[in-house]
């Protein structure tokens, strides 16, 4: 017997369609496999580091996606604070969760490279430490989300933590950089231009593209899940 809604009532979340094949995911998977094939069989090994260098085609694009995920998550949270659109919060959540996966990837592939090259699995190098802190930030963010039931409050707190996290990164970087640096000099973002043979460059950027596509596919799938979860929740509160 509820009267017709007036004013600005948010409509219940509509569930996603979920029909057919997720073509973005298929393309992302194919491109990633192609990038791997090219990196393994069609790119020569590095003169100094040998085959160990090949992990760079996985490691660096993974880092790129990890930071992209954090940045977009924080940005989306900031927009949510002003627009209050639930999709922005769902994106922030999805991007952060995908970010955790990729950051974990960095923390796994880093030591695999470090053992033959540096002689130790873990080194408290500036960029490795920064990635570890990033991982903790993401985890804290997700634990926070899990500890709040109210959707609006969750979005609000997550947005604030995400923004402060983005603000923290330069400070962590600066302090651990001064603390100790024994990472090789950056070879891509080097002021004197890219210090890599052309064949490696092509593989590298192809891989970067593949991983970014994978990020998009993951976030899309995760967002669909978040939308359906909210829709289910709305439907069950409406019943009560």
């Amino acid at each position: 017997m509820t009267p017709a809604p007036t004013g600005s009532a948010p409509a219940p979340t509509a569930p996603t369609a979920r029909t057919g094949i997720d073509w973005v995911a298929v393309v992302a998977a194919l491109v990633t496999v192609a990038a791997f094939v090219r990196a393994i069989w069609f790119t020569p090994p590095d003169l100094l580091q040998g085959y160990a260098q090949k992990i760079m085609y996985v490691h660096v694009p993974t880092i790129w996606v990890a930071f992209l995920a954090l940045g977009l998550s924080a940005l989306s949270g900031a927009f949510w604070l002003f627009l209050k659109d639930p999709r922005l919060d769902r994106f922030a959540e999805s991007s952060a969760e995908v970010g955790v996966v990729f950051t974990t990837g960095v923390l796994v592939t880093g030591p695999i490279w470090a053992k033959p090259i540096w002689g130790a699995w873990w080194v408290w190098d500036a960029r490795l430490t920064l990635t570890l802190v990033l991982w903790f930030l993401f985890l804290g963010y997700l634990v926070l989300r899990g500890a709040i039931d109210d959707r609006e409050l969750r979005a609000r707190y997550s947005a604030v933590v995400g923004l402060l996290g983005a603000l923290l990164i330069p400070f962590v970087h600066l302090s651990v950089y001064i603390f100790r640096t024994q990472h090789p000099m950056p070879v891509v973002a080097n002021p004197e231009g890219i210090q890599m043979p052309a064949v490696m460059q092509v593989t590298f950027f192809f891989s970067l593209f593949a991983f970014t596509l994978m990020y998009v596919a993951f976030v899309r799938a995760r967002m669909a899940l978040a939308t359906d979860r909210d829709a289910l929740e709305d439907a069950s509160t409406a019943e009560r």
């Binding site: 634990v143 707190y157 604030v160 923004l163 302090s175 603390f179």
Partner: protein, 230 residues
């Protein structure tokens, strides 16, 4: 109340004074933080082999680890007082800017953390036989700088976690990553100062601490109103 900035600070002071009055009346959190600090200092000593690691090398680490965790003890208290019996609503009803609620809490927490440190620093120097001497004042300065940063972030997060299911666990999980760029410069400069290095050598660390304080004091004050339900 013509000048809004002055208004913010005056009401912040009113709120801080109230928090300190409550703390002074109950003393429970402050005393437990002191006991916790002393206990940690003692336990840490036995966690190392004193013949392999000199107390002088150990002391900065002990000081800053206890600083971080004892600081956290005080942060919980700040909003627990408001959560009971809905007192936070009374603060939000009052015609004071949201920012002064945050700054008031921050001031009380700062007093709490510095109070604990005035016991911790002499205790560490006593138990670890530190030749504090001329380094005492600069180290106290580092403590103040580090406390401002820790309390800014900690107060904001304590306000949020007070409204979640896992208050006690969530605060350290959220806040500790933020303390890394506070603890690194603080511990490094303490070690340098204890080793008798001149103040000029630690300026690079002090600058990071100062920048962290300014950025996060501002950012957290601005962010606090956004954390409130509306």
């Amino acid at each position: 109340m013509t000048d809004p900035t002055r208004g913010i600070l005056v009401s912040a002071w009113v709120i801080a004074r109230k928090d300190l009055a409550i703390e002074f009346r109950t003393r429970s959190a402050f005393l437990s933080a002191i006991v916790f600090t002393l206990l940690s200092i003692v336990v840490f000593f036995f966690a190392w082999d004193p013949t392999a690691v000199g107390p002088l090398d150990l002391a900065p680490g002990v000081l800053w680890v206890t600083f971080t965790f004892s600081g956290m003890l005080g942060l919980h208290r700040a909003f627990a007082v408001e959560a009971r019996d809905g007192a936070m609503d009374a603060l939000l009803l009052a015609p004071v800017p949201r920012e002064s609620i945050f700054l008031g809490k921050l001031l009380a927490n700062l007093a709490f953390v510095l109070g604990v440190q005035t016991v911790a620093l002499p205790a560490v120097s006593l138990f670890y036989n530190l030749p504090l001497g001329a380094a005492a004042l600069p180290i106290a300065g580092v403590l103040v700088l580090a406390s401002i940063g820790l309390v800014s972030v900690g107060t904001l997060f304590a306000g949020m976690t007070a409204n979640t299911r896992m208050t006690e666990l969530l605060l350290p999980v959220l806040a500790l990553p933020f303390f890394i760029p506070v603890v690194i410069p603080a511990a490094q400069s303490t070690a340098d100062l204890l080793a008798g290095r001149p103040l000029a050598d630690v300026f690079v660390w002090l600058r990071i601490l100062l920048a962290f304080d300014l950025v996060f004091l501002f950012a957290c004050t601005v962010a606090f109103p956004f954390t409130l339900e509306d």
